[in-house]
Homo-oligomer: 339 residues x 2
DNA sequence: CAAAACCGTGAAAGCGCTTTCAGGGAGCGT
DNA sequence: ACGCTCCCTGAAAGCGCTTTCACGGTTTTG
């Protein structure tokens, strides 16, 4: 059988209550007693039973990462792994565990009542599609939640986000400064704030330059490589074709690049191309991709900090915190105007 | 306050025991009563408290994925994401949750006594470096564990693996058939079985062809892109340089390719290159990489099935199961002998 | 027709921990 | 000396669930 707290207490000659106090670092324990208990713990290799602890204390030291996307899309893009890495870093430091909540495609209501079940003390939701299920869940949930990326329709949820709009604008202004004028964009999903914001930045830049936003130059994608490929094919049917393309994610830029290659066009020779994210692959592509760097890991770290801080001060008051992280323009070789 | 099983019982006019039986689908409950209980559950949106259930039943419906590697290396390679995806697929089907157990670099003993703590019902360990800590942990652990990849020094642990040795041999034989004779290899870590096996396959092929394994043509890497880059630089100092290189992972092949490019060499024009894994990137590279396909997702699925089957039949007998999945040679453009 | 098997149910005993409450002893001010 | 506060400790009451046991009733068996 396993060693329990009672065994420790007996061995140290104290009551279970005192043993518990020692383990949880409560004050008001005689130093000598404290040491006796620790010794018993070391000698027996005692490990507290987590479910029992959770049940009694209502704290599980576990947070969930919720990504409301089909599993297979989750890892196609290095964005999520990098984000998770950032979160994990902070959680490890603070002795929290991470529960990966991967939604199945078939489950219509995947993250229902996570809080009530008592397993998760808090949750980080990333890349939130603003659908009915998610919003409903967030509204009903009883555990603290932090969102990576704003959720416009629920202002009360603390979030950490990057300045997508400004970043996109800087990028497109860079394209304009290179002399490109017929700039197309492959947007992200318009039901995600990041998708809308990056498109807004694109519009901002064109407007500021006195250029119109032409509907035929705007194609919606979903951040995936495949959608970039398809969107680019659509853009290539235009006459004349665009002289540059801003893809709202690096993976879409990669897909677009493949479509251009397939069509026998060279980048940046025939057409300029730029992305967003600065995933590791962006630097490795030929040509190296000009893009906007998001501090993805930092995004995860900040979200975790926000959440864990909130759990630590178990004030029930709904804290609404917002953190905005900067983006950075990374100029490489994929959109250099050649005269 | 939250709804408890007692509330359900009261509402349905039965005892808590009966309500519990209904929830857990036990037999010997009157169908009418069963329906009354379900109705109460639906009406109240009741969700069982997981820690309480775990405590009472000693089953948590949670398994851990343990990857004994520093976090930052974990996601650099799509191998792990694909593996996790496979595991998640099976777990979702069977209502199990996944706990990602990411070791910190600073924690010397990261996965100690996971079982004792009562949170994890079982664990999948992947890419096991055969170090002291891991072996010690596996030996002491009280929960069922399945390994992805063999662990030679602990025969008792069920595993699922791919035929690394045979796959590597087929690949190198392909290189030989292309006319390459001075074939170098960048191996994986020699403290991982997969690293050793792939090297063994390389040796097998050379021996079968009556060729010696020259020590200067063998450089050890660690599966990462960076290590492939460095190793290739080492190989390029040889006189003459190899006419082909077998990298034991696609990421290392990518690193090697970059080193070759940097040295002004073309692939496959000046030197042949082949990898192992067939990650999505392999097909996307220029030139497209000849490699060996591992069914990574299937690997994860099988591991999860093995583990969950074992948990379901809670026979305490140590079941030792081994599953070997096939590899497949994928011939693309990176090692075509041009005359 | 008695004995045996089975079914459906509730009472009650935990699972291993946290936390409240109360109390004894020590220290301090008056 | 007395009352007060503060420190340390143990007893005991749960946390919300599963599971064993016992029991009456019904059905099957020999």
């Amino acid at each position: 059988m396993n060693i329990t707290l009672d065994d420790i207490a007996r061995r140290a000659g104290v009551s279970r209550a005192t043993a518990s106090r020692v383990i949880n670092n409560h004050p008001h324990v005689n130093p000598a007693v404290r040491e006796r208990v620790w010794q018993a713990i070391r000698e027996t290799n005692y490990q507290p039973n987590l479910p029992a602890r959770s049940l009694a204390s209502r704290r599980s030291q576990v947070i969930g990462i919720i990504i409301p996307q089909p599993i297979h899309t989750l890892f196609a893009d290095p964005y999520f792994p990098l984000l998770i890495e950032g979160i994990a870093h902070v959680c490890n430091e603070r002795q929290f565990s991470i529960m990966l909540d991967l939604a199945t495609t078939t489950d219509s209501d995947p993250y229902r009542h996570l809080g009530r079940r008592g397993f998760l003390e808090g949750a980080i939701v990333a890349s939130a599609v603003e659908d009915q299920f998610l919003l409903q869940w967030l509204a009903q949930e009883t555990i603290p939640v932090v969102s990576v990326g704003r959720i416009t329709s629920l202002q009360a949820i603390p979030y950490v986000d990057v300045n997508n709009r400004y970043g996109a604008r800087m990028l497109v202004e860079h394209l304009l400064s290179q002399g490109y004028r017929r700039i197309a964009t492959i947007t992200g999903p318009m039901n995600i704030v990041a998708g809308r914001d990056r498109f807004a930045g694109y519009s901002d830049a064109l407007h500021a330059a006195g250029l119109p936003v032409l509907p035929e130059l705007v194609v919606e994608g979903n951040f995936s490589e495949q959608s970039g490929f398809t969107a680019m094919q659509t853009l290539l049917r235009l006459v004349p074709i665009p002289d540059a393309v801003f893809a709202a994610s690096d993976m879409m830029a990669l897909g677009a690049l493949k479509a251009l290659r397939a069509a026998g066009l060279s980048v940046p020779g025939d057409i300029g191309l730029a992305g967003f994210d600065d995933i590791p692959l962006a630097a490795a592509m030929t040509p190296a991709l000009t893009t906007v760097r998001q501090p993805i890991g930092e995004l995860g770290q900040t979200a975790a900090q926000l959440l864990l801080d909130r759990l630590a001060t178990d004030s029930l008051a709904p804290v609404t915190q917002r953190v905005m992280l900067p983006t950075e323009l990374v100029i490489r070789d994929s959109c250099v105007r050649q005269h």
